[in-house]
Symmetry: C2
């Protein structure tokens, strides 16, 4: 398993194509004045790995013949939240980054005021999409499911902001592993878990034994995602990464390699991947896509 | 009716006391790390007229013995959205204002990064509150009502951002009355209408004849609010206003007095108040609070 096999790449590529189409349908449904419209499309359609939508689809695959509308809306909503967070993270008063996915960041291309407003509207658009009839094709909306999805999305979005604050607070300080994991459980883990749980509540009853297994899987891969992110910031270069490499060290950010050394961090990432697979044992073959995503996150190069 | 009578003041004062308590209960229910917590409380608890919550309560008064939980959550949610918009509007890349309600703005007190994140989390907290069990006292949650409220709140929040963009685009330009009203229907009108409609969907069936009457009332007072705001920017001073007066002219903002002259703008405000009262004729005595709020908005000095 030293090189990335075809299956994980295919799972991600297929998800990227699906979400790209659904995002475009969603954005086109909004009437947004320029230059905000340009900034919103820039922030959303630039690409990215689309890991969160892929997790929505892979979770839905656990129950074949699911009515996919609520899952597709969840995938779009969570990606819009992710894109809003990137637009704001890159602002001069935050990371002050001009490069994202190999392209100018939102404020570099559209100015600070428009990038701020693009992030703001992307957040409310996420909830608009969640409560909409998009992708329904006439099927009934289950208000109880939408309410649960809203609760999950809103809570994860708030946690993401808290994680961002904890992360800024930790800059230039030595923090231990427990503190580091609290940061990342909020900053990136909450939204990754939310992607899984928003799909899960659309397809499983609240009492289903699948729910705690998926929660465990989500928590573990959320952590794995961040550990690998920290590793890539060191071993990758800006061209492959599509964003400024070596930035963590520059701002004295607490990272897993800084805390435990590079090799130990890599071993930890492998360990987390194993834990993710164990959490999926409950599902047998239907979890192939979720397994592939864990493998992708563990082996990715950017 | 040349001076503000007691009734409108009492309606507002009572609403301010109610919302202050409910906002505090809501904020205290969140675990937010410092310094973000301080910035969030600063942005929310500083005061303000609390017009939007007052509109929620006054709308709910149309149906005595209403289960108030969904209305109270709506009032808190919409005020949190309003507070987020103020924190972001005041940022250096936007209005760059240091004074709000006679106090330092959020970024003046907590720094730009924390003020940005405070606005961001206030938006997601609004949806968290809306989907929560706050103020329930054991009553069942009607998911269909919450879903409608979420749709109204999310749409209004997006419109608010669009209005902000249209407003920025219009600076230094001559715009006609139709364009000016499009700006304000989005920028301030959407959230004011949403306050009324979020309470309305909690107490009336979708087919109730009250709904279009309330929609009309909301649109008219939203406009009246802005016309009076423009007038006060000219005739009031910074001390009474609690924010920097004369700012509109300074940035060559399109305003009603600039468009039609001060006297004509004042006559227009009176005309809108009359229209608001007409829209409420349908309700007889139960609409006393909604009438009082229109009068308050028309006669306010700050």
């Amino acid at each position: 398993m030293s090189s990335l096999t075809d299956v994980p790449v295919t799972v991600l590529t297929e998800a990227q194509q699906r979400i790209q189409q659904d995002l475009l349908t969603a954005l086109d449904a909004f009437a947004i004045p320029e230059p905000l419209k340009g900034a919103v499309y820039h922030a959303v359609m630039l690409g990215g790995k689309r890991v969160r939508p892929a997790l929505c689809y892979a979770t839905a695959a656990l129950k074949p013949n699911t009515n996919m509308a609520a899952v597709r809306r969840a995938a779009v909503a969570i990606e819009l939240i992710h894109c809003y967070s990137l637009a704001h993270d890159d602002l001069p008063c935050m990371d002050n980054d001009l490069l994202r996915r190999g392209q100018p960041t939102c404020h570099a291309a559209f100015g600070e005021d428009t990038a701020l407003l693009a992030g703001d509207i992307l957040q409310s658009m996420a909830f608009e999409v969640l409560g909409s009839r998009l992708y329904d094709q006439g099927a009934a909306v289950d208000a109880a499911i939408v309410l649960k999805q809203m609760q999950i999305l809103a809570t994860a979005s708030s946690k993401m902001v808290c994680g961002q604050v904890l992360d800024l607070q930790a800059e230039g300080k030595q923090v231990d592993q427990a503190a580091l994991e609290t940061i990342h459980r909020n900053k990136t883990g909450a939204l990754i878990s939310a992607a899984i749980m928003m799909a899960a509540v659309a397809i499983f009853e609240g009492t289903d034994r699948a729910i705690p297994q998926l929660r465990e899987y989500g928590q573990v891969i959320g952590l794995a995602f961040q550990v690998q992110d920290d590793i890539l910031d060191i071993i990758s270069d800006t061209e492959v990464l599509g964003k400024t490499a070596g930035k963590d060290e520059q701002v004295e950010k607490s990272t897993y390699p800084a805390l435990m050394g590079l090799e130990q961090a890599q071993a930890y990432a492998t360990d987390l991947h194993d834990q993710a697979l164990q959490a999926l044992d409950y599902f047998a073959e239907d979890a192939a896509a979720l397994r592939a995503i864990s493998q992708f996150l563990w082996q990715r190069k950017s």
